[in-house]
């Protein structure tokens, strides 16, 4: 069994974002980097499947990005992936989903992956396209946003949660690509021995041209804060001061305090 996990390194979303000079994306100054959360579910599921199969499975982790993404690939290796592939592309943060998919599919084609796990979307671009585009290019089955996964004798059963909290069950066969949603699993925190071991695992570097980088399908500009119309009052201060101010506002602006609460 040959498994591929696809990961992206993204900034911590609690950081403060400023446009870059061209206004096409964010300036990286001051941001801290980590694995895209949806991709942590992908890595965890890949490693769990390998553990279930006990030794007959190998997990490769691939990431497209500048030199800094090696750190995130090492994290995935520490979580239990066997081998890393870094597609070294300094321009990756501004490439569109079509281009990223062209490289991942270019790498995966002909390598015989039985299962590919990706995040459902990235937290920074949120396109939810790359996984499906890779599957379409590879001509393999694909289900997006899975919240449960089961493998039994070559048969895959997944669940996806849809609007209104309904949960749908879907069966498919490998080769397949699955994009992973919150709720699928709780990704492990690697311990020190795993982190040390990960440093010795094989990590190969490839260039975008070698894996078939294509031209973009979209252009992106005017990166800017999402200023919303109805922004209210912002209060700061010590917890006790804030509590007094907030209570005062609730008393004057809402009717809930006098009524004794919920119906």
């Amino acid at each position: 069994m040959n498994i591929l996990a696809c990961i992206k390194q993204v900034p911590d979303m609690a950081g403060h974002f400023e446009p870059n000079e061209a206004g096409t994306w964010f300036d990286e100054t001051g941001l801290t980097w980590r694995m895209n959360e949806y991709d942590t579910f992908a890595v965890e599921q890949a490693v769990r499947l390998k553990e279930q199969l006990g030794g007959e499975a190998e997990v490769t982790v691939v990431s497209v990005g500048p030199a800094r993404v090696v750190e995130t690939i090492r994290k995935a290796l520490a979580m239990g992936c066997d081998e890393g592939m870094h597609i070294d592309d300094a321009e990756a943060p501004e490439r569109d989903p079509w281009q990223i998919a062209s490289m991942i599919a270019g790498f995966a084609a002909g390598r015989g992956f039985d299962l590919v796990f990706t995040g459902m979307q990235s937290e920074d671009r949120s396109s939810a396209q790359v996984g499906v585009l890779v599957a379409e290019r590879l001509g393999i089955a694909c289900v997006t946003g899975i919240t449960a996964f089961e493998w039994q004798d070559g048969e895959i059963t997944v669940e996806r949660e849809i609007e209104g909290g309904r949960i749908c069950s879907i069966r498919l066969k490998s080769p397949a690509l699955l994009t992973c949603q919150q709720g699928l699993n709780s990704p492990r925190y690697p311990n020190l021995p795993s982190i040390m071991k990960a440093k010795r695992k094989k990590l190969t570097v490839m260039q975008p041209a070698e894996v078939g980088l294509e031209e973009p399908k979209v252009s992106s500009e005017k990166f800017r804060p999402h200023e919303r119309k109805s922004a209210g009052v912002i209060l700061e201060g010590s917890p006790a001061e804030l509590a007094v101010q907030v209570l005062d506002i609730l008393e004057t602006k809402t009717a809930v305090l006098g009524k004794g609460g919920a119906r």
């Binding site: 979303m13 569109d96 079509w98 937290e123 920074d124 671009r125 949120s126 396109s127 939810a128 396209q129 499906v132 585009l133 379409e136 089955a141 694909c142 289900v143 997006t144 946003g145 059963t157 996806r160 949660e161 849809i162 609007e163 209104g164 909290g165 309904r166 949960i167 749908c168 069950s169 879907i170 498919l172 066969k173 919150q182 399908k217 979209v218 252009s219 992106s220 500009e221 005017k222 990166f223 804060p225 919303r228 922004a231 209210g232 009052v233 912002i234 209060l235 917890p239 006790a240 804030l242 509590a243 907030v246 506002i249 609730l250 602006k253 809930v256 305090l257 609460g261 919920a262 119906r263």
Partner: protein
Amino acid sequence: MKLLLVGECRDGRLATETAELFGFSARLDAEVSMALVGSADDLPAFDGRLYLANLETYGEFSSDVHKRLVLAAVEREQPDAVVLLHSSYGWDLAPRLAAAMQSAQISGVVGLDDDGYVVESCNGKMLRTVTPQTPVAVLTLQPGAFEALAMDGQPEVIKLDTSTESAIEFVGCRQPEAGIDLTRAEVIVSTGRGVGNAEQVALVEALASALGGEVGASRQAVDAGWLDRSRQIGSSGQSVSPALYVACGISGAIQHLAGMKGSGFVLAVNTDRDAPIASVADVLAVADVAEFLPALTAALEKR
């Protein structure tokens, strides 16, 4: 401009957000047609061509079959753009269409700009304008971003058919377990990831109790196992409209906002003043949940 809209059915019914596809088309003053896997007794009302495939034959979710059906409509209509909702159906289907059409896809459109489509980035904190570089584009619209247009008219129905051969087998859907009904609560105090850990949910419960309200949760808080899924608020949980909504440590993902936008007064407690929840909050208290909630609870109890 010529748009091919892709409608969707959920649980056998035409999804209500379909009206937002028409709202979007009206903003662009576009000529519209629609492709739909639906049933003849629940058709969208509009004047235009409706490419209809039978829901019973092709099912609600069968991505590769639906892809072939929509592509057949694209072939006949030759639209400038194919427009879907950014729903569990649309985000799954759209890239399959874009791949087949070798076209640009723009996901989660929330607005229109002179030269392109506006989308959110960085968990909703930022916006950018994206412009297709291909003659035809595939767009998915963020639910709630465009006004629903009252539907009116009589479509000209054109039947669509394809083989039902599929790489995936849809087994079925189950309804969520019935739990607490938050839709009629007057006060909801909601738990997000910023609450920190399961123990601190007690602080949220104490505040809810002091306010005489119910406890709600974001998807993250439910996935972390802090609260039961029946308390989840958002597009995959309950849609609520309390007089007072207190969002504790909730960043405000668009899916969460969709479920609480009907609230009367919104108090947000968050350490990040840039968090998207600030956009819908009447008051944002920039504070740590662990420190502020006990202070507010104590102040309420002293009244």
